[in-house]
């Protein structure tokens, strides 16, 4: 890049170089002579531009230099703050427009325990705690029988497949509302917030925010204070399942329940239909038994009343029968046949008329005489 510096020509006014030529030349020299390297120092004058690019100085007791870290390199990182001791892996270069020596930073690590991630996490966590968002008393109870279950996750991730399988097996009674979001990368934070925002207005009983395992950078959107606040502000209970069991994100901390995996989140969100059906069966049995018991005294009373009714009818019949026997005995005693048996006889004329007086029996009158065992003919003499 550029011709070798011609010291002889440059020594005279006629041979002067332009500013652009010198800076371009200087840049070539720096870039050829200083390969990318690790530099340690303290951050000063940190500024993040709307473009996402970061500008800051790196300094120690004796010197400082300008640094730039472009958005495509820093998007995964929480931003550092002034005074922080860091390591950067950077390409030394020349910013020609300003004629400034500059480091183009490709990686930035904090020297503090746990690095930048940890620092940013603790900072956001403290802010959330200050607003009471980590208070265990805020945690809401999950609905027992959710009708609509919303899921914020990647539309083609294993997390969604797992959730769908578990809910389909345990509680197919529900409706699963999937709101896809980017769960990693530069746009993840905004995408998750927008998905949450959309769900706020839906009639949803419980929300799952899920993402499979990944590196600390991959999970970073769920450690963003903005996402955490959006989760905390959801009107329905939220179950969070981000990364593996060992990764605890801010999203997990503000959620009403933290599940170790997406499958576990789905399990926590749903009852088991088989068990609910069994419970219904038991309730049905108890209902029938309770009615039997409740109606028992009425049935007992009915039984007793029937017994008394039948008993009193029986007694009455018995009395009637006795009366009848007595009456028929008396009747029997009065019977004319009994009188005939005692030796009396009855005389009747040919018309059957009973002949009781002498005047009815002139001499020569024929009559029939009824005695106890039959009749005979006779004539008055």
């Amino acid at each position: 890049m550029g011709a070798p510096l011609d010291l002889v020509t440059a020594a005279s006014a006629e041979g002067a170089w332009t500013v652009g030529e010198v800076t371009r030349r200087a840049r070539a020299v720096i870039e050829a002579g200083l390969p990318p390297l690790w530099v340690r120092g303290e951050i000063a004058g940190f500024k993040a531009w709307r473009s996402g690019h970061w500008y800051f100085s790196l300094r120690d007791k004796t010197a400082q230099m300008r640094c730039v870290m472009f958005a495509k390199q820093n998007f995964r990182l929480p931003s550092p703050s002034d005074g922080m001791q860091v390591f950067v892996f950077a390409r030394p270069s020349m910013y020609e427009e300003k004629g400034e020596f500059q480091l183009t930073v490709m990686e930035l690590l904090s020297t503090e325990q746990g690095g930048l991630w940890k620092l940013a996490f603790e900072k956001a966590k403290a802010a959330l705690a200050k607003d009471g968002l980590l208070d265990p008393a805020r945690k809401r109870r999950l609905p027992q029988f959710p009708r609509r279950i919303a899921v914020v996750t990647s539309p083609d991730g294993a997390a969604l497949r797992d959730i769908q399988a578990v809910v389909g097996r345990r509680w197919p009674v529900a409706e699963l509302i999937v709101v896809p979001a980017q769960v990693q990368g530069a746009k993840a934070e905004a995408s998750v917030c927008s998905a949450l925002n959309r769900i706020r207005r839906l009639p949803v009983d419980v929300l799952l925010v899920a993402r499979g395992g990944g590196s600390v950078e991959d999970l970073w959107a769920f450690n963003s204070e903005r996402v955490a606040r959006a989760v905390a502000a959801m009107p329905m209970p939220v179950i969070s399942a981000i990364g593996h069991e060992t990764d605890v994100t801010l999203c997990d901390l503000v959620a009403d329940l933290r599940a170790p995996t997406p499958s576990a989140a789905a399990e926590a969100a749903t009852p088991d239909r088989i068990e609910v059906l069994q419970h219904c069966g038991v309730l049905g049995q108890r209902l029938a038994r309770a009615l039997r018991i409740a109606s028992r005294h009425v049935v007992d009373r009915l039984d007793r009343t029937r017994d008394r009714l039948v008993g009193s009818m029986d007694r009455r019949l018995e009395q009637s029968r006795a009366l009848l026997t007595a009456q028929s005995a008396r009747l029997d005693a009065l019977s004319p046949l009994r009188v005939l048996a005692r030796g009396y006889a009855v005389a009747r004329d040919e018309n059957g008329q009973v002949l009781k007086r002498v005047g009815q029996l002139p001499s020569g009158k024929a009559f029939r005489l009824r005695v106890t065992d039959g009749e005979v003919n006779g004539r008055v003499q």
Binding site: F145, W171, P172, R198, C280, L283, R286, L287, L291, S295
Partner: protein
């Protein structure tokens, strides 16, 4: 399924009442009938055999 949990709660209350209180037959029968009806509805609601999955697409709302 708010309706479902209400259904079940009412059913449980009916069973408890039938079991614990001394009711006259009319009232007991009325409760029993209501319980049987709620049980039927609850079972019906549990019959949906396949999970409905709905995707809400990105287009709807910028934020």
């Amino acid at each position: 399924m708010a309706e479902f949990s209400k259904q079940l709660e009412r059913l449980e209350a009916i069973v408890r009442r039938l079991e614990s209180e001394d009711l006259d037959l009319d009232e007991a029968l009325k409760l029993f009938e209501e319980g049987v009806e709620r049980l039927r509805v609850a079972r019906e609601q549990l019959q949906q055999a396949e999970l409905k999955v709905k995707k809400v697409l990105e287009i709807e709302s910028p934020s």
